[in-house]
């Protein structure tokens, strides 16, 4: 519990968040998307097909696969499961492999349950950092560009039917140097570039976008 609290606070704490310029530039500059800064209005216009769908969405759900690359570790750590995002309610991540656990992110609280049913709950009232974490997650999922622009410097690269959205935190957050969201009609991949050479890639397939709020109950 205590460690989770600490982790959350730290996630948004500048006291610990300064990205060292050297390590940041190495991984981030390799990504061409950051050479194309753009403002929210331009990006919204360019991504109309995607954003129109997402703007109407009440819920988004589907399976995900995560690869975590650690510096000095030859092969990535694999995890998979499914997620449900319900507008105005929250996001539920259900991890099935390598072990079962569940993480619920709401605007003002965060709950984690492990396979044994042990639950850790953190309220924004005790830990204001929860709000910031939730904001980032919500904005990325619903591609809320106005919100994203407040938190990140934005850039956009398009080729063919595909697009890449680059997000660089205005306020360094934890170890994250940059986030790259890419896809065609849907968000297909989110990459988190981390300080010190680690990175996380999450792939989404068969994502279902629903304009009804039926699965809301699942995101407790």
């Amino acid at each position: 519990m205590k460690r989770l609290l600490l982790a959350l606070t730290l996630a948004c704490a500048p006291a610990v968040a300064a990205a060292s310029a050297a390590s940041a530039s190495a991984s981030v500059s390799a990504e061409t998307v950051f050479a194309h800064p753009a403002d929210a209005a331009t990006i919204r216009a360019a991504l109309v097909p995607v954003t129109a769908r997402l703007a109407a969405a009440q819920s988004i759900s589907g399976p995900y696969q995560q690869k975590k690359y650690l510096r000095e570790l030859p092969r990535p750590l694999l995890a998979s499961g499914d997620f449900t995002f319900v507008r105005d309610h929250g996001i539920t991540w259900r991890t099935t492999t390598p072990f079962a656990s569940e993480l619920v992110i709401q605007r003002d609280a965060l709950v984690q349950r492990d396979a044994n049913g042990q639950e850790v709950r953190i309220d924004a009232a005790q830990q204001p950092a929860v709000r910031m974490v939730a904001r980032i997650f919500f904005a990325v999922f619903s591609l809320d560009f106005a919100e994203l622009e407040q938190l990140f410097a934005l850039s956009l690269q398009q080729d063919g039917g595909g697009w890449q959205l680059g997000l660089q935190p205005k306020q360094a957050s934890g170890t994250i140097d940059a986030i790259i969201v890419s896809g065609r009609n849907d968000v297909e991949r989110v990459r988190l570039l981390e300080r010190g050479g680690d990175r996380t890639e999450i792939e989404f397939q068969d994502t279902r976008v629903s304009s009804s709020a039926a699965p809301a109950a699942r995101a407790r």
């Binding site: 610990v16 650690l70 993480l103």
Partner: protein
Amino acid sequence: MSARQRLLLWVLLMTGAGLWLWWASSTRLQFETDITAMLPQTAPDAVTRQALDRVESALGRQGLYLVGAPDFATARRAAEAFVAALREEPGAPTDRPVYASAALQVASDPAQLDAAYGDARLLLLSANDRARLQREGAQPFADAALQALYAPAGFGPSGLGRTRAFADDPFGLYGDFLLQLLPAGGKLAPRDGILTLERDGGIDVLVNATLADSPFRLAVQDRAMARLDAALQAARATAPGVTVIGTGVLRHAAAASRSAKREISTIGSLSLAGVLLVFLVCFRSLRPLLLVLLSLGAASVVSLATVATLYGKVHLIAMVFESSLVGLAVDYSIHFFSDRFRNDKPWTGMDGLRHVGVPISVGMATTLLAYCSFLVPPFPGLRQMALLSMTGLVASYLTVMLAYPALAGSPPPASKPVLALRDRLARLHRPRPALLGVLIAGGAVLLAFGLARLQFVDDVRALQSSPANLLAEEMQVRERLGGGLDTRFFLVEGRDAETVLAREEALRDRLEALRARGLLTDYNALSRLVPSQARQAENAELLARTVYADGGALARLDATLGFAPEHFAQQRAAFDAARALRITPEPLLDTPLGAALRPLWLGPTAHGFASVVTLSGVREPGALVDAATGLPGIHLVDRVSDISQVLAHYRRLASLGLGGALLIIAGVLAWRYGPRHAMRHLLAPLGGALLTLATLGALGIPANLFTVLALLLVLGLGVDYSVFLHEGDASRPTTLLAISLAGLVTLLAFGLLGASATPFIRSLGLGVLLGVAWTWLLAVLAAAPPRAYVKMPAADAGAPPS
């Protein structure tokens, strides 16, 4: 001595005093507004005093403001407008701004800490992690790290929390250490590099404004408050719905001096107006009016000059008190001029002197005796009040004795209303036995009931007050920030810096336990940033035994994740290399975070080295006392409780002094008037004091040191009344008139003090107010002739016997 010689002497004395004041005020007269400067010094030794000074000057100058708005952008804009208005000061020299700094609180940059700690960061452990490693070993950390690595987006128990790549800080121990350095226990979240506080319905931006000088200096107050008012306006003008709340000594100090200044002018001018009115109505001539102004002027000049010379600083609260001194200093003038009303025959100043010279001399001596008791407690403020009063009284006494005979001229005899009043007073005689019995019984009931209910409250907090809106605002800020700085702190001493840090750590272990139990919100100590060498060695040993043990939690985690076996060997080698390193205070004190903690470090002192551990959000003071027991070199400095104890001590001492003064006065009276008369003269002062206490008790108003001191004052006045009535027995009606007028003026002046916003001035004022009223009543009753004896000496008044 002829009247002319006396006048010459007076002119010489006053010219000297005037020149003296002119010199004193141009070289050293300053006004002090710090209420604590009036209170007794409680620090037992120089190091504690140094610590108190440091804590007060470092923290007293700081003001914290929360600029809030519904959204971040507006809050930030308002905060920037607020800061800009604080900084710009039209017409002031730019090299000496009144605010040394005013800025949005910037979130500190961890890169500087990284650089300062270097590779030795591997030896750092937060208190929580240390305890957990000792208790449960490293396995729980490994489990959490593993879970985080597989959590969505790395968001798990230690995922997003990490500050470095996994390989550099696998268990997030360094991240946890950095986290405990965050301000306000992590309640403040940084946004765009500045610290913010999210709350329901809005967001606050934290602004820190530090004064260049003490907020108790009047010049600083005026400038700083003007800037603050402009800044508040500027912030609120940026957008509707912008709120600013803040804490800091400045506004409390400014409010206190504002009300003191207001009181000096209102109490001063109202009592002066009262005096002038009494003189105009009674003496119907310009001359007594001008002369009483002369004596009051002399009193002010001499008293200010004395205090300025002895203290350099005159306390504003003492000035409030002095403004009521008018009520006492005028007594001698009233007695002098009332002598004119003995009869209609021509009267000169020398006649007055002959008649009232002895009584007012005896009266002044006893009053000075009463004031001397104010000098006994080591209360700077009280001593100032006593000195102001004593020197003022002497000056007005000398004016009456030296200047009046020559300057009195020949005022007109008493007017009809005054004569009527005098005769009415003269007809007062002892009530019928039945009525007397009822009065005595009533007094006895009041005494029994009131004294039984009387309560003494010595808490110094009851003697200081701030406007309710300021206190409410401060509470709000404290709530949002999770508890403000406490007035209590720990002083840690040792023979060298290392010992001090190690002792701080021993104390912190206990403070952490208090935090865990919710009895304390937070504390601040340098050892949080810089562990002692001993603690670093201990941590290294603990880490070697747990995290870095061969085949231990880290080695197993590395293997589970699939790292090559050399990976753990590298981590282990880096740790072994770090074990030879030691963190020292100097580079860390140069970081912004270190600079903020620097005031806590007292450095070398007379006994060795010392530091201060500050506290916030103390829920149970008793637990703090326990936290220090048994730890060498550590003690809790609690000035509020120390001062309260001193107040209680001197209240008891002053009560003894009151009894002692009564005995001395009884002795003097018995020697001069014989035991029987002495008893009668004592009835008024003694009964007056007891009845005052009983009245307070009956009204449910708690008494304190200042009530007792008021009674000492009243004792002096009460003896005056009795003495005047006795010495002036030959012209009893006139004397009665004089003491009634004098009592009236005193009542007026001190009654105004009873309305003061400063609680202890109020206690003093109320004590004197009630005391004078009761004493006058008793003095008149005691001096009243029995009903059978109502014949007036024909020469005196010609009042018909009733």
